[in-house]
Amino acid sequence: MFPDIINTRPLRIWMDDGLTWIVRNWGDGFEAAAYPLLVMLNTIEDWLLAVPWWGIILALAALAFGATRKATLPAIVVIGLVFMGLMELWEDSVKTMALMLSATITAIIFSIPIGIVMARSTLVRKIVTPILDLMQTMPSFVYLIPTVMIFGPGKIPALLATIIYAAPPLVRLTDLGIRQVEPNVLEAAQAFGASPSQRLFGVQIPLALPTILAGVNQTTMMALAMVVIASMIGAGGLGYQVLQGIGRLEVSRGVFAGLGIVVLAIIFDRITQAYGKQLQQQIGLSGGR
């Protein structure tokens, strides 16, 4: 046994009391700050629910066709979504889709600028990298407790937990993509007198785009991986069905909802990947190079 050298009790009490104090005094502020997230999530959800089922199927199939120019992926999209409709999972899958989309959009808004700053400054990278490691490895329940205490159970903590878990790969891949831009292309831009912003928007971001898109793909996948946990604290959707399946020992409910998550994952994974590939071919980086 490791000897008891210091007494940790005061530290624990200090931490727990500190959180209680934060909840009591700053809770409203936090809630106000997170309100736009809630509005976005609700808007997306209402929007997707307002569109008729065939509209969503058609839109996703069209996206799939645009990305691959082949019939295979659109067919998979149609079959998968019709399966969900038949299994009475339509509304739940739309809610899950809304959660995933909101998390991805928020992650894009925050992660890409952070990734760009990281690529330009070694100091920022040194600071941000361990934070990203922490976000990805810390078990989500640990930060779910304080977020639920601050916001109360509901969609906001669910969305925040999803964002925390899903955002890091996008930051990392944005950073990587920008740093991987060939130095000789950048040097040429500089030699022709391009300003830093002309270099960023005209050279670095376009050339990093395939890598950034791979990051978006990762983010959507990780957001979907969080839906069951998110449903524990009040996000509805397919995760909630899985949870209920476990609670009621209803294997069928769990299996079908689980398959529904898999279907969503396949659809969004393949579509974003295909767009990434298309971009890469356009740039001429196809394959490993």
Partner: protein, 342 residues
């Protein structure tokens, strides 16, 4: 005051490392480059380089890899800042420019062609050629029209909408050249522009560059590691070794009188018969009219066949008057001279 030179470098020294100034002080005290590099871990890229390029000149800087030639060319448009020295382009002190002035200078005064092309892979050929003009702020219609003309000049009609990766290396470098020429500036920097191309295409591009240069009369600073290339296209050649200028002059002066063993090695593989002009080795004076004569800028290669029939070949000056004569012996002597390894 410096208007007679398009590009002038005075005592330019570049030291790479965390404390360049300390190393510079020691270098100035006369310590050797190797000693300092081993001791301090700093790399001395350029050591007190002087360079003068006259308007309309095609000036070749030659050296092996690691000699500092790519570092040197990057000082002219300040892609690299020197540790010490002065750089003037068109009489303007490049080192005194603010960032904004420097950007304007790069947009309007100077263009560059790169060994690895440096094309934007996500843009079509025509958008690549128009890139410099776009950065300069030229409106879309004008810049695309200009780009189209230059694409035609370098012989890439029909490839306007292709992407760089769809083109061969030679074609990609034509795009790079067109991009630089489209800027319509006086000064062109070419960093091993043809080194990545295979020999036949390289030779073709050299010919084209010579033709273009006659037509456009630009001032070109050309970097190469290939002495034959330097001979073929250069008006003046500067030889760089370990970051320092070891010889400077007309190409054939260097072939005839290499400054040290290093340059001699360079020159050893050169085709002398093509490099040496007859007027530099002829007997000067008004002799009896010879049966055949060549122009003064003819090479040894041109006169050799004539010796099958004649003992003496006359050399005519610009006016067509004979200014000297030459024998097979003299030619053989010139060709054999400096041949090391005997």
């Amino acid at each position: 005051m410096d208007n007679q030179y398009k590009i002038e470098m005075r005592g330019v020294t570049k030291i790479f490392g965390p404390h360049p100034d300390e190393v510079l002080a020691q270098l100035k005290q006369g310590r050797s480059k190797d000693e300092l590099q081993a001791e301090t871990g700093h790399v001395i890229g350029l050591n007190n380089v002087d360079l003068k390029v006259e308007p309309g000149q095609l000036h070749v800087v030659m050296g092996l890899s690691g000699s500092g030639k790519s570092t040197l060319i990057r000082h002219v448009n300040r892609l690299i800042d020197p540790t010490a020295g002065e750089i003037f382009v068109d009489g303007e002190n490049v080192l005194e420019m603010s960032l904004e002035e420097l950007r304007t200078f790069r947009r309007t005064k100077i263009a560059m062609v790169f060994q690895k092309f440096g094309l934007l892979p996500h843009r079509s050929v025509i958008e690549n050629v128009a890139y410099g003009l776009e950065i300069r702020g030229v409106d879309k219609k004008t810049r695309l029209k200009t780009a189209e003309e230059w694409i035609a000049t370098v012989g890439l009609e029909g490839y306007e909408q292709s992407r760089p990766h769809q083109l061969s290396g030679g074609q990609q470098q034509r795009v790079g050249l067109a991009r630089a020429l489209a800027m319509d500036v006086d000064i062109l920097l070419m960093d091993e522009a043809f080194s990545a191309l295979d020999p036949l295409i390289r030779s073709g591009m050299q010919d084209e560059l010579i033709v273009l240069q006659k037509k456009l009369n630009k001032t070109i600073l050309f970097i190469t590691h290939d002495f034959d290339e330097a001979l073929k296209i250069g008006d003046q050649v500067t030889v760089l070794q370990d970051g320092a200028v070891i010889q400077y002059g007309r190409p054939e002066e260097i072939v005839l009188n290499p400054a040290n063993a290093h340059v001699e090695k360079f020159v050893a593989d050169v085709n002398r018969a093509r490099a040496i002009h007859v007027h530099t080795i002829m007997e000067k004076g008004a002799f009896d009219q010879c049966d055949v004569a060549v122009r003064a800028n003819a090479c040894c290669e041109d006169v050799l066949p004539l010796f099958a029939e004649h003992d003496w070949v006359g050399v005519n000056g610009d006016g067509g008057k004979q200014v000297g004569r030459i024998t097979a012996k003299q030619v053989i002597k010139a060709l054999a001279r400096h041949s090391s390894g005997v």
